[in-house]
């Protein structure tokens, strides 16, 4: 009896050493290591401030320019025009101006500092699972597998879901990968350098309120500056009055900002994103039956939904702590995926799931024991291969980029011409989608049906035991 018990105890211990679940349960034997917050190992190209509370894009130069322009313009207005207008017209003018100014700043900061709706990257388990399903669907692994797409029917319209090679997920509808921030963003509108952030699901309403209130503010300032000049020129010289006024800045801003507000009002009322509008995804030019499946039907509902709908919380837990039990792959190399290139890559992905039989010589990703937690991820990430940029996989489709350029010219939104080239009004990095899609599109969005035929638990048990033993051997080294 005693022997039986000790044997089973040994068994328990054995399984405790060999594998670890990736749930954040801490072992009692873990050493005290200073806790890191998740934003410190965030894989995207974002900047964080205030211990993860503030999140911005990498390039923030233009944002500071925006701030300076607003502050200088309003500063000049309040200093030179307001005293005169308050005295000769009404003191309500500076008050209204002040309220508008505070509102503009508030919405700008809210847009710039908040998470636009970034989708966290897939965990290694998920990525491996998807890989397996795609491989099964594909059949043989060619040198360069076709781009992965899934078709889903949403409210009668067929929508293609693209696979993101960087984030290793099938992007939800309306999500897009921003090449500047290197993140997939939900309901991606565009990347705005003026606010120094992407505009997506979580900050679109703040962005809209920013440009709307800025339009009112610029019109307000412009109107009252003109009034001031007219009133002054009755008394003294016209040129004298002009030199103290922020007219020039206002003049250009008014047209561009008002134009942009008008454009976004149209987008909101038809429930489209800038991305979709530029590509003409729901335009009737594409086909008679082409319509927007996300629209609620009428303008009022669309507006209410966009501006007053529920605000989803951030999906990337920035200020959460990293649990060292959960293997975190090193940030820069995490996004690198090499498909169909080498056999070793296949074995890495296969080894990540204990289901498959391949015994890799390198330790697996998910089941790292705490002691080796540091060593394993770095080795596998090296194995995943070289610079992502050299791969010809993720190329933006030429058609969309030219379309977006022509759109820029026609709308002429930005006043400064040298900024046009850099302005990411362009569609983000898009995977090429030639006619050759996955043959398994008939099971549509139900990737599970593919999985069903593949995994057979009964036959895997004994083989799994062997692979587990193999892991134990390696982890004890």
């Amino acid at each position: 009896m005693h022997l039986g018990v000790s044997e089973s105890m040994r068994e328990c211990e054995y399984s405790q050493i060999s594998t670890r679940s990736s749930t954040p349960m801490e072992t009692p034997f873990k050493k005290k290591i200073p806790k890191k917050r998740k934003w410190e190992s965030f894989p995207g190209r974002n900047k964080f401030y205030c211990d993860g509370r503030i999140m911005m894009a990498k390039q923030t130069g233009v944002f500071y320019l925006t701030l300076v322009l607003i502050l200088v313009t309003c500063g000049l207005f309040f200093t030179f025009d307001c005293p005169f207008l308050a005295e000769h017209l009404t003191p309500v003018i500076p008050v209204v101006g002040g309220v508008l100014f505070v509102f503009v700043l508030g919405t700008l900061l809210r847009t710039s500092f908040s998470d636009p709706g970034v989708l966290p990257r897939a965990t290694p388990d998920e990525a491996a699972d998807l890989e397996r399903q795609i491989d099964v669907a594909n059949g043989s692994t060619g040198y360069r597998p076709p781009p992965r797409t899934k078709e889903v029917v949403i409210n009668g319209q067929t929508v293609k879901l693209k696979y993101c090679f960087t984030c290793k997920i099938f992007r939800p509808p309306r999500a897009s990968h921003c090449s500047l921030c290197d993140n997939c963003v939900e309901r991606f509108d565009h990347h705005c350098p003026w606010v120094g952030n992407c505009v997506g699901r979580r900050n679109y309403r703040f962005f809209y309120m920013f440009i709307l209130s800025l339009s009112f503010l610029t019109i307000f300032i412009f109107a009252f500056v003109i009034t001031h000049i007219i009133l002054r020129s009755h008394r003294g010289g016209f040129l004298n009055a002009l030199k103290d006024s922020p007219v020039v800045v206002c003049f250009f801003s008014v047209w561009s900002i008002v134009g942009l507000s008008g454009f976004h009002t149209y987008l909101i009322s038809s429930n489209q994103t800038t991305n979709e509008d530029i590509k003409g995804s729901w335009s009737s030019k594409r086909g008679k039956d082409n319509y927007n499946p996300y629209s609620h039907g009428n303008i009022v509902t669309n507006c209410c939904a966009a501006l007053c709908g529920p605000l989803p919380p951030s999906l990337i837990d920035r200020r959460g702590f990293v649990y060292l039990d959960t293997p975190q792959l090193a940030p820069p190399t995490n996004g690198i995926t090499v498909y169909g290139s080498t056999q070793s890559q296949q074995s890495h992905m296969a080894a990540a799931t204990p289901l498959l039989q391949q015994q890799s010589s390198e330790p697996v990703i998910i089941t790292a024991s705490p002691e080796n937690g540091g060593a394993l991820p770095s080795r596998t990430s090296l194995g995943l291969g070289g610079p992502c940029t050299s791969l010809p996989l993720g190329q933006p489709t030429p058609a969309t980029s030219t379309a977006s350029l022509s759109c820029q010219e026609s709308t002429d939104i930005r006043p400064l011409q040298d900024q046009v080239a850099h302005h990411h009004f362009l569609t983000p990095e898009d995977l090429p989608s030639p006619p050759g899609m996955l043959p398994c599109n008939t099971p549509l969005g139900h990737s599970h049906t593919v999985q069903a035929g593949f995994y057979n638990p009964a036959s895997q048990d004994s083989l799994h035991e062997d692979s587990v033993r193999g892991l134990v051997k390696l982890s004890s080294v």
Partner: protein, 139 residues
């Protein structure tokens, strides 16, 4: 609680991922199709009931109605400072979901050697079901 603690030390046999169902648009819904890996572990009805309940809860979080509009307008008028003292409706429902997942794990899934991961921990992409090996049931 005892059976659950044992599973912590158990080996992971497999992980099953329930993907999102986008047929109704971008609202958060998960596929209710029963994965074949769980056939030996849990009742199909039970599992589908769990997923359906989760779907209902997420639909409640994202529902457009007078309640959400009032909250939105109030937030706008107070320049969103109201959320410094109050939780958004969505966050309240997420807490409900976390409680539901915990409860389901304790009552239904842990005794069967399974573990549901709250979808929010996976960025609302998947419901991750961890299948543990049978061996560590001995005490």
């Amino acid at each position: 609680m005892r059976p659950f603690k044992l599973w912590q030390q158990a080996a992971i046999a497999a992980k099953v991922f329930i993907q999102r169902d986008y047929t109704n648009g971008t609202v958060c819904q998960f596929q209710t199709k029963f994965p074949s890996e769980l056939e030996t572990r849990i009742d199909k009805q039970q599992f589908e009931e769990t997923v359906r309940m989760l779907n209902n809860l997420y639909a409640e979080a994202e529902k457009l109605g007078s309640h959400s509009y009032i909250e939105g307008c109030l937030a706008c008028l107070t320049a969103y400072t109201v959320f410094l003292c109050m939780e958004t409706h969505y966050e309240k429902v997420l807490k409900k979901i976390a409680k539901y997942v915990q409860e389901q794990n304790d009552k239904v899934y842990a005794p069967r050697g399974l573990l549901l991961t709250d979808p929010i921990e996976r960025g609302l992409r998947v419901i991750e079901v961890t299948i543990f090996e049978e061996r560590s049931l001995t005490r």
